[in-house]
């Protein structure tokens, strides 16, 4: 996902002199390094200084540029939170904040590097759009949209590397603010976003094995949320499942339940989020998800799929 973002940004940046990238001491992946070599003035490294990383992008946007701030997800939002809120969101500037390794991607580094509440926190700030692609091709489409848009700030939450391409077979193109059906189904609809989408596919297989037809929908845009699209799903399906890599407070799960109340639907809703806890455990990304109760087997068991 990170490399596809870099390739896309490089290609767009070659043709748009307003595109710049401001990083805070993170080694630029693949094509971002190429961008740096070819356009050294449009690549700025602020060092271990995230407040100026965000503050500078605000000033650059005020003077007509289109900057992307880029670092590990926790450090894009948490350290410079007030700069994100006041400099970018209050002033509604078209700056893209790229958070690498959203959720618990950095599985060996401990909770200082886990952006486990990033979607909830970002969604709480007025004017900030929140996008979390599930695979490289969604990351590419989202990057293209971010580079072209003028509406305001965006938090673009990416994984890291090695995510499988899950949306190849999708019938619908990616569109900002719109749900995207990745796979059709009749009995159950699974809502998910970000790299954990691969577990949504695994659970869909379990449903199929149990004789249930499961649809999968990518809720890649968390803000603005496609409320109409979600209400339609809640009305159309007898069972809706949410699987996400975000802490429960402010999660998609919470918002889907709120929408269900508003829409007065009667479907069953099962939600699976990260725990509201710091987990002191290390290993691969999958290990940390498992420790948060998001193992495929555990989800399947809680859904009654044996």
């Amino acid at each position: 996902m990170r490399n596809r973002f870099a390739d896309t940004f490089y290609e767009l940046g070659k043709n748009d002199p307003r595109l710049c990238v401001v990083v805070a001491d993170i080694s630029p992946a693949g094509s971002i390094a190429k961008f740096r070599n070819e356009f050294p003035r449009r690549f700025v490294n602020t060092g271990v200084s995230e407040q100026i990383m965000i503050g500078m992008t605000a000033g650059m946007a005020q003077r007509g540029l289109k900057p992307f701030a880029y670092t590990i997800a926790t450090f894009t939002l948490y350290r410079p939170f007030e700069m994100v809120r006041d400099d970018l969101c209050y002033q509604n500037l078209p700056v893209t904040i790229v958070g690498i390794g959203g959720g618990v991607t950095y599985s060996t580094l401990g909770a200082t590097h886990h952006a486990q509440e990033d979607v909830a926190i970002a969604s709480a700030i007025p004017n900030l759009s929140v996008i979390a692609p599930c695979d490289p091709s969604e990351a590419e489409a989202a990057t293209r949209w971010c580079a072209a848009q003028e509406r305001g700030p965006v938090y673009l939450r990416l994984g890291k590397a090695g995510e499988p391409d899950l949306s190849k077979a999708a019938q619908e193109p990616w569109a900002f603010g719109k749900l995207r059906r990745l796979r059709g189904g009749r009995d159950v609809c699974i809502l998910s976003y970000g790299p954990i989408m691969k577990r949504a596919f695994a659970i869909a297989e379990r449903f199929e094995a149990a004789g249930k037809s499961a649809a999968i929908v990518s809720t890649h845009t968390l803000k603005p949320l496609d409320r109409d699209g979600l209400a339609e799903i809640l009305r159309a399906f007898a069972r809706v499942v949410v699987i996400e890599e975000c802490a429960p407070n402010g999660s998609l799960a919470m918002r889907v339940k709120e929408l269900a109340w508003d829409a007065q639907v009667t479907c069953r809703i099962d939600t699976f989020t990260l725990k509201d806890a710091f987990i002191h455990c290390y290993g691969g990304h999958d290990d940390i998800l498992d420790a948060h109760g998001l193992g495929t087997a555990e989800i399947a068991a809680r859904l009654g799929l044996h």
């Binding site: 700025v44 602020t46 100026i52 000033g59 650059m60 540029l65 700069m83």
Partner: protein, 284 residues
Amino acid sequence: MSDRTTTNVPAARRNSFDAGAARRRCYSYRTRILDISQQVSALHVAPAFSCTEITDVIYNNLMRQEANGEYRDVFLMSKGHGCMIQYVILEEQGILSRQDLDAYCKPNGRLGAHPDYETPGIAASTGSLGHGLGMATGQAYAEKLKNTDVVIYCVLSDGEFQEGSTWEAMMMAANLKLDNLVAFMDFNDFGGLERMSDGHPAFYPLVSKAEAFGWEAVEVDGHDEEAMREAVMSRRGERPMLVVCRTVKGKGVSYMENVAIWHYRSPNKEEYLQGLKELAEAPL
């Protein structure tokens, strides 16, 4: 004086500094602010009075205007609570209207106690301290990328230099050699609570700190416009510049000067009349 600096200042302005005119302008700005204080209590009079001359010299003797009258250079009020002085200058210049100022902090108005981006003449929303120099750094860098000669003037409080974010900006602006960034520190020595030099003696010295961070820096009397103007125009112009301006918080009104409560307080009727009298009695 370097060639670069001379290109940044129009000849007419360079040669026509009028100290008397500057004093008369500052007198009228201060009385206008006192007048407004009788309509709405939510304003920071003393913080505006300490940077009255700083703001005036930037607008009236440093910033260049295009042929159509619009400013070519940029003014960014990082100490957002000092914005009353900027508002009254923008009013005098017709960028804000008298109605705008009359509706200050009122439900039908568009001016609050901190500046709001996209209000005419306002380059950034500020109010929370420690944000302005970062944005000014980004603005100055953008102008470099665009190959313009636009200069960004940024006014900060001395208290803002207690924010770590300000020092991140100090580092970056010097790394990027932003010779088109000129920052003014309103060194009035007062935070909201107390005299800063009492509470934070290790905060000093200031000029050598800025120099150690790679800035050109100088300390001047922040109520002496000619000295500030001369400091900026004679800068070497190879690096960002910090003008440390020694000022008096509440300058011009005796009971406000260097009294911490006047960071927030507005004068009552009696105090207002005394303030007007003192301002009128000062030599013009």
